[in-house]
Symmetry: C2
DNA sequence: TTGAAAGCGCTAACAT
DNA sequence: ATGTTAGCGCTTTCAA
């Protein structure tokens, strides 16, 4: 056997099949119709030479790569895993592949992705900015095709979102209906929310609306910032609440991971859920149904979420002149045991 | 302002700066040394034209993309999230970018990735095959640079692994030292393990060694296959164990997700952990420290794991003639409350 | 240190 | 239905 030489090109295939390179290209892409017998000859030649097309060359020629970028603040969370799974599957169904990035460590990373789009490494990107004012979409002149996921108030790009304000309100109202009166919010404090509200702000706003409308007093002490939306972050937030000797009988958490941490911290402190304190989460990751007790949380379909983002992006790559579109994914409150009681409350003075 | 026309190329930059395209290329890549003043002129021109290089063209020319593929069986698990995070960060540190794929749904997907390497869409790939005999590495003639992660017995490619047999043995021995005598294994059954052992088989083998060496009787009834290594899968596996009226006093689970499901199912059935049954996991995902009770599990450094895989891959992309290398990542058993007792055991006849 | 020319492998446009 | 030409934007010779 001859030594392994350079990869065969379409030209080599064409020579062997006795046709032109263009015909090989037609067979490969199905662009133009090819006579049955010609096609067979070409395919035989491709097989014989073990030919594969060079996608760099195709990308250079077409200006398209078939690759999309996908960026989340923190890839290590349960929600990230679930949504990444959804996006990769949806992309696969459409013949696209996903390039991954993580943005929380440095906001700079979002710019990297935009740059990669401009360098023709990717055709477009799906972003989940934590704070809009830091996000690239607010700072770059010519944006590539971008779909924002998350509850972001802006109208330059397509976006997929759930009505987090409504969901935050629903969670708090549910607590109130169970008899809770001192409801903490774990995940963000009003003091840190700026005008341009992102996910966090909307959930908090809904929570505040429910409190106010029920005639209860919003208390800044009950709003705990959780810098990292991880389990450890949630546990630390709850510990802080307990250490500050604050009275509360329910906790609305802004992600399930935070809620898992809160459950753990409450348990460690000897407080019972739901007998003493009610707890709710957000996202309905797989784990939420398996905590002790199982977690009441806001559910939405992660696959629909990913699919919608991908559909928007694909259509925008096709036609960049479309007006920005927004797709809302429905949500619902799933009531599990973590809120199935009238809570006695945590009162350090007792 | 002129209408937005085609992207500027290096040629445009060269003309504006009054140099040749090659000089622009030199400035950009730092390949050859460029006189300070020339460099400044070129950089000014790039800035003025808002120039970005076309990476498709560069890829075509260089035969390298700077992109690596990364494939896991199931992206939705907690372990997947953790390891994906590690790989993306390690890649970023090396100026590489990660393309993601999920392979459990159809083994075909592994071939897709290899194909993408051959089509010059990626420079190499990191794979985590579940069953080696189905894996592409056993079936393809000319492999691109590949690093296998997971406990796979083969020597065609580089690999990163932990000594799962030892770890499985350590977990079982720990149970025995606590007084357990009927130790179930959740995650795979000996009946389904073929000659070429993958992750599952090694963990099971270590477990069996510990059982045998302690003079206990290995019982196939205690070995439960869990087709999906998810929380739900673990819960279902444990339920099956309970429904079959099998006596046991400890459960070694082959992933943390399985263990979380098992904990939940035990709790639902009214069995206490660790008073009645001991439970251990594998991987030490964040959640393992926050279950009730916190989970004894096998820990290894996920960042080291991802970094090692990336280093191997990067060096192999540089030099494909290297002999296959194997890197073992150390592990340890982390003892938490889920095994802190001498278990009474679950006996349905009592 | 810089320039000129050639070509990586593919496909769009035009021609047959 | 198929062939020919040209060129996508970059970088690697080889010269100057």
């Amino acid at each position: 056997m001859a030594p392994r030489t350079a990869r065969p090109t379409m030209k080599d295939v064409a020579v062997l099949a006795g046709v032109s390179p263009k015909t090989v290209s037609n067979v490969l892409t199905g662009a133009a119709s090819v006579r049955e017998e010609t096609r067979r000859r070409v395919e035989a030649a491709m097989g014989e030479l073990d030919f594969v097309p060079n996608l760099s060359a195709r990308g250079l020629r077409n200006g398209r790569t078939g690759v999309i970028g996908f960026a989340l603040p923190d890839l290590a969370t349960a929600f990230s895993a679930s949504i990444t799974h959804a996006v990769v599957e949806a992309a696969h169904d459409r013949g696209l592949v996903v390039q991954l990035e993580e943005t929380a460590a440095e906001p700079q990373r979002e710019y990297d992705l935009v740059y990669r789009a401009r360098t023709h490494q990717i055709d477009g990107l799906i972003l989940n900015p934590v704070r809009l004012q830091d996000s690239v979409v607010e700072h770059v002149q010519h944006l590539p095709p971008v779909v924002l996921i998350g509850e972001v108030e802006q109208h330059r790009t397509d976006r997929v979102y759930i009505d987090s304000r409504h969901a935050g309100r629903a969670a708090a109202e549910h607590m109130i209906s169970r008899g809770a009166r001192r409801i903490a919010a774990l995940g963000g404090a009003a003091a840190n929310v700026t005008e341009k509200l992102a996910t966090l702000g909307q959930r908090l706003q809904g929570y505040l609306e429910a409190i106010t409308e029920a005639g209860l007093e919003p208390d800044p002490q009950l709003q705990m910032d959780v810098p990292e939306w991880s389990i450890a972050g949630g546990a630390a937030g709850m510990q802080a609440l307990l250490e500050r000797q604050i009275i509360f009988d329910a906790v609305v958490c802004f992600t399930d991971s935070i809620a898992l941490g809160a459950l753990h911290a409450l348990h460690t402190a000897g407080l019972r859920v739901p007998q003493d304190v009610l707890v709710s989460g957000f996202d309905d990751v797989e784990h939420a149904g398996f905590t002790c007790p199982p977690l009441t949380t806001v559910r939405f379909d992660h696959n629909d979420y990913g699919t919608a983002a991908l559909d928007l992006l694909a259509s925008r790559v096709e036609d960049r002149s479309l007006a920005p579109r927004a797709v809302e994914i429905p949500h619902e409150l799933v009531e599990r045991q973590s809120t199935q009681a009238a809570p006695l409350g945590h009162d350090p003075r007792r």
